[in-house]
């Protein structure tokens, strides 16, 4: 990341933390002035650290609203509850009994090796398929970011946004406005984009993210949502997700990104499901 990128990232991060107008512009200018004064070869990232952490410190120091509130686990309010859900495919267990609760503002990161059932659990949580055992309860409208699919190749992105937005109670105009704003956060212009069939894989993934967030559902489920995306777009998606969770949404995401794991409130590690001993005839 060169210094110009670092400064642009700082500006973006400060905006996400509610730092506005001249405060934000001055913070960025001051860092720029410091760099101009520094020895040749000085690098913004070394002098100031990663832009998101520096923005955290500055926003806190200036009394800006800040990004993360601790999730509200005290009131017993929850958005999603799964109780000992299991799933097998063709007799092979795909998910060991798993329970979790998501409170407003809480981000749960799912980790585990391939085959541990991360995608299976997310599909159960999203209600896309029923569990074999256990129960899933949701109290909130749900935004879902799949790894693939979910789009109509013959519709334009803006039409997708209208469909999803209207389904979540927005007017078409509001849906379009929100979609444009979300897309811009991801570094993409929604208006004028061609039908989905002609989008690149990365752009289609940005559309899935926009669709998950339009209409501000209170629960976001995302299955390794960064597939096919460049690192900058991935970072922008996470910033959007953190900011909606700051506003009280809850989220369950599968990810191995260390930064995501560091910032998640809860990390849930799934182990590959094992067949019951009796199934293989080796039980006592």
């Amino acid at each position: 990341m060169n210094d110009a990128d670092w400064l642009a990232a700082l500006d973006h991060e400060l905006a996400l933390r509610g730092m506005t107008g001249s405060d934000r512009a001055e913070a960025v200018l001051e860092a720029e002035a410091h760099l101009a004064d520094s020895e040749p070869g000085a690098v913004a990232r070394e002098l100031f650290g990663p832009p998101d952490r520096y923005a955290d410190d500055l926003a806190q120091a200036s009394g800006a609203p800040g990004r993360r509130r601790p999730p509200d686990g005290t009131t017993g309010a929850w958005l999603l509850q799964a109780d000992r859900v299991t799933r097998s495919y063709r007799g092979r267990p795909a998910l060991s009994p798993t329970s979790l609760t998501v409170a407003p503002g809480q981000v749960v990161a799912l980790v585990g090796p391939n085959g541990a059932g991360k995608s299976t659990l997310l599909r159960l949580l999203a209600g896309l398929e029923p569990p074999d055992g256990g129960t899933v309860s949701r109290r909130a409208a749900t935004g879902w970011v799949p790894q693939s699919g979910g789009l109509d190749p013959f519709l334009r992105p803006v039409e997708h946004v209208e469909l999803f937005g209207v389904a979540r109670g927005l007017s078409r105009a509001d849906a379009r406005r929100q979609g444009e704003r979300l897309a811009r956060h991801l570094g993409w212009e929604l208006t004028g984009a061609p039908v989905v069939g002609r989008l690149s894989g990365g752009t289609a993934q940005k559309l899935r993210m926009v669709l998950a967030l339009v209409g501000t559902p209170r629960l976001i489920l995302a299955d390794e949502p960064y597939q096919g995306l460049d690192t900058d777009s991935t970072r922008r998606f996470w910033e959007l997700l953190w900011s909606v969770c700051e506003d009280g949404a809850g989220a369950v995401v599968s990810s191995h990104d260390p930064e995501v794991l560091r910032r998640a409130d809860t990390v849930l590690e799934l182990q590959p499901a094992v067949e019951p001993a009796g199934a293989q005839g080796v039980g006592r």
Partner: protein, 124 residues
């Protein structure tokens, strides 16, 4: 204002000087530096280094200056630079002056307490 200009080399910071200690004293030190005249971030960092506190990264410096300004202990204004983006100069306020006087007293008493305690351990 720049009393360090003629000095040959700044004293090296003690190798084991804890970053936590520096963080704890950074704000009072900044007040003291600004008390000798208006100054901007990069210059303050250079003067801290010259005084022996080692390099203070911008990532610690500017949040500290922002806190001081938020508390009304310093004020700031921009002065145009030659070609560059200009510099933000910090100035001690009357409240800052009172805070500095309090800090000096509190520090002296605190440092004496800690020194006494540490020596007690050494002679035990």
């Amino acid at each position: 204002m720049n009393a360090d200009a003629g000095r040959p080399t700044p004293p090296a910071p003690p190798a084991d000087l804890s970053r936590e200690w520096i963080r704890g004293v950074l704000e009072p030190c900044l007040l003291a530096l600004v008390a000798t005249g208006d100054s901007y971030g990069y210059e303050l960092a250079s003067r801290l280094a010259a005084a022996g506190l080692g390099p203070v990264p911008g990532g610690s410096l500017y949040p500290a200056l922002t806190r001081l300004e938020k508390q009304g202990l310093v004020s700031s204004r921009w002065r145009a630079g030659d070609g560059g983006p200009g510099r933000r100069y910090y100035r001690l306020t009357a409240a800052g002056q009172r805070q500095l006087a309090t800090d000096i007293e509190r520090w002296d008493s605190f440092a004496a307490t800690v020194a006494g305690l540490l020596r007690q351990g050494a002679t035990a």
